[in-house]
């Protein structure tokens, strides 16, 4: 919303150096100080202020007017924010915080000069405009002559003064550098959109002070963090419960499997016992011997006692037969005990002992 510029001549501007105070205390102090600074009746007086920090010192720019004048401006503004030249230079002050700086604001009806010297109290001067810019600038130069020549000048001007300034405004202080020129539109553009202007109706005071709000926020954050931690813990608890259910189910299945395993082992042992008990089958033994010996040899005598056997046979060279015994799993260790060559024959009488491993 476009701001509404009030006539500076309807306002009194005072600069008050402030002690270190809180926001609320500042207003109280200024209310108290205003009685000594402004002659009007307190009930018919309206004021607003802006705080300026220069180095370590804090100043209040105090704008004082009659309440009736303010009401007229409010009616004219129709809800637009009200402002005075100081608000135009305020955004630039940060740039020149450490410099000696003077601002000249040229309004159509008046000119205003603000001078800032380090941490000294700022000074303000206001005067009606003449019909000619040259006359106004001469006034300014006369005032500037009192200032330090090193003071830097900044001119804020409207479109009506642009040409004149270009022709005559090279230097405002004797021997000083040319002033920085800022168009009014540019300065207006630097106003913060959140700036509600001067004498804005008081906002409803917050229920809680900023300190309390911060504390409540901190507590809320801590509480939320704790809540998040609890939520995380609850989630893990639920996960643990589901795992326990799953584990319980699997454990019961596993117990069945373990019981089955034990049963299988018992049955295997019983089977092993039965197989061990199985007697030697003489028919199979003799059939195996027949396979090994024939046709090279013929059994003469055979004795089987439990799983041990001894045979006497006649045949050719019994030594290779021993390999056949070794190759068959059915037989345990077999030994060739004795070999007697038969007279008048190529055959030999031999004796073999051995054992049967079983089925």
């Amino acid at each position: 919303m476009k701001p509404f510029m009030m006539d500076r001549l309807d306002f009194d501007l005072k600069v008050v150096e402030l002690p270190k105070l809180g926001e609320r205390e500042v207003e109280g102090l200024l209310k108290y100080r205003i009685a000594g600074l402004y002659p009007g009746h307190p009930e018919q007086t309206a004021f607003d202020y802006r705080i300026l920090q220069r180095g370590k010192t804090q100043f209040a720019f105090l704008f004082i007017t009659r309440r009736s004048a303010l009401e007229s401006y409010r009616a004219l503004a129709g809800g637009r924010p009200l402002f005075l030249p100081y608000l135009l230079i305020q955004p630039y002050l940060k740039e020149f915080e450490r410099e000696n700086i003077a601002f000249l604001v040229l309004s159509p009806l008046y000119l205003e000069i603000f001078v800032f010297h380090g941490s000294e109290p700022p000074a303000a001067f206001v005067a009606k405009r003449s019909k000619r810019l040259a006359t106004d600038l001469a006034t300014v130069r006369r005032l500037a002559a009192r200032e330090n020549p090193a003071t830097r000048w900044v001119v804020v001007f409207g479109s009506g003064d642009a040409e004149g300034l270009a022709a005559q405004g090279e230097s405002l202080a004797a021997g000083g550098s040319p002033p920085r020129q800022i168009r009014m539109e540019e300065a207006l553009g630097r106003l913060s959109p959140r700036d509600r202007g001067l004498f804005a109706p008081a906002r409803r005071a917050p229920l809680l002070s900023r300190g309390w709000r911060r504390q409540i926020l901190a507590i809320a954050l801590l509480f939320l963090a704790l809540l998040a931690l609890k939520k995380l813990t609850d989630r893990e608890e639920a996960y643990l419960r589901s795992l326990m259910r799953q584990a319980g189910l699997l454990q019961s299945q596993s117990a069945t499997a373990i019981a089955l395993q034990a049963e299988v082992e018992t049955l295997s042992q019983q089977k092993a016992v039965l197989l061990k008990k199985r007697p030697v089958d003489p028919y199979r033994l003799l059939s195996e011997l027949h396979d090994i010996l024939s046709p090279a040899a013929r059994i003469q005598s055979f004795i089987l006692e439990r799983s041990f056997f001894q045979l006497e046979a006649v045949g050719f060279n019994p030594l290779p037969l021993m390999d056949s015994f070794r190759e068959r799993d059915y037989f345990g260790e077999a030994r060739l005990l004795q070999t007697v060559p038969l007279r008048g024959s190529a055959q030999e009488l031999f004796k073999i002992t051995g054992s049967v491993r079983g089925e």
């Binding site: 893990e236 049955l267 089977k271 028919y283 003799l286 004795i303």
Partner: protein, 175 residues
């Protein structure tokens, strides 16, 4: 009326109380969480083991069934208590020997430990003796022959044989 300084001190005190309470709560929650994490890790390690056991259940059941069938088949080769006695068994063997055309020279009953054995002394052709032994082998029951002696009479094909034979019984399981 509480002064500004007192209000400040009260504020500090309430903050200390709040922070201590929150710290305790946080510590308790964190400790509980650590405990939960430990249990979760343990279960996450155990569950695959349980699953592996459970997965083998079907195989174990099949193996048990197979073993039971094998045991039953093997058990059928044994006589049950009271199913046979030495005299009936003697008749069986004697009939087999006679059927195999083997000539019994002598037979007697021997008691070896708990087992009763029949000892036969006989003569006959080697082929007939093999037929008899084949019949013993294929009798369907385990007939034990703890002793067998065969002597060939030269190249005549006639053999003299002595053997002891008995039958195997199966005690009921668990007795």
């Amino acid at each position: 009326m509480v002064s500004r300084r007192e209000r400040f001190l009260l504020n500090i005190l309430s903050w200390i109380v709040a922070v201590v309470a929150l710290s305790f709560l946080s510590a308790a929650t964190l400790e509980k969480r650590a405990g939960l994490r430990g249990k979760i890790n343990q279960l996450e390690r155990q569950i695959p083991q349980f699953s592996a056991h459970a997965a083998g259940e079907a195989q174990l059941r099949a193996r048990r069934q197979r073993l039971q069938a094998e045991l039953e088949a093997e058990g059928n080769h044994y006589y049950q208590a009271g199913q046979i006695d030495p005299y009936r068994f003697g008749i069986l063997i004697r009939d087999l020997l006679v059927g195999s055309r083997l000539q019994i020279k002598r037979y007697q009953t021997l008691e070896v430990g708990k087992q009763i054995l029949l000892e036969f002394s006989l003569e006959g052709s080697a082929l007939d003796l093999m037929k008899f032994l084949e019949a013993v082998s294929k009798s369907g029951k385990h007939w034990s022959m703890p002793f067998l002696s065969i002597n060939a009479r030269g190249d005549t094909g006639v053999v003299d044989a002595v053997f002891r034979i008995g039958y195997e019984t199966l005690e009921p399981l668990g007795s």
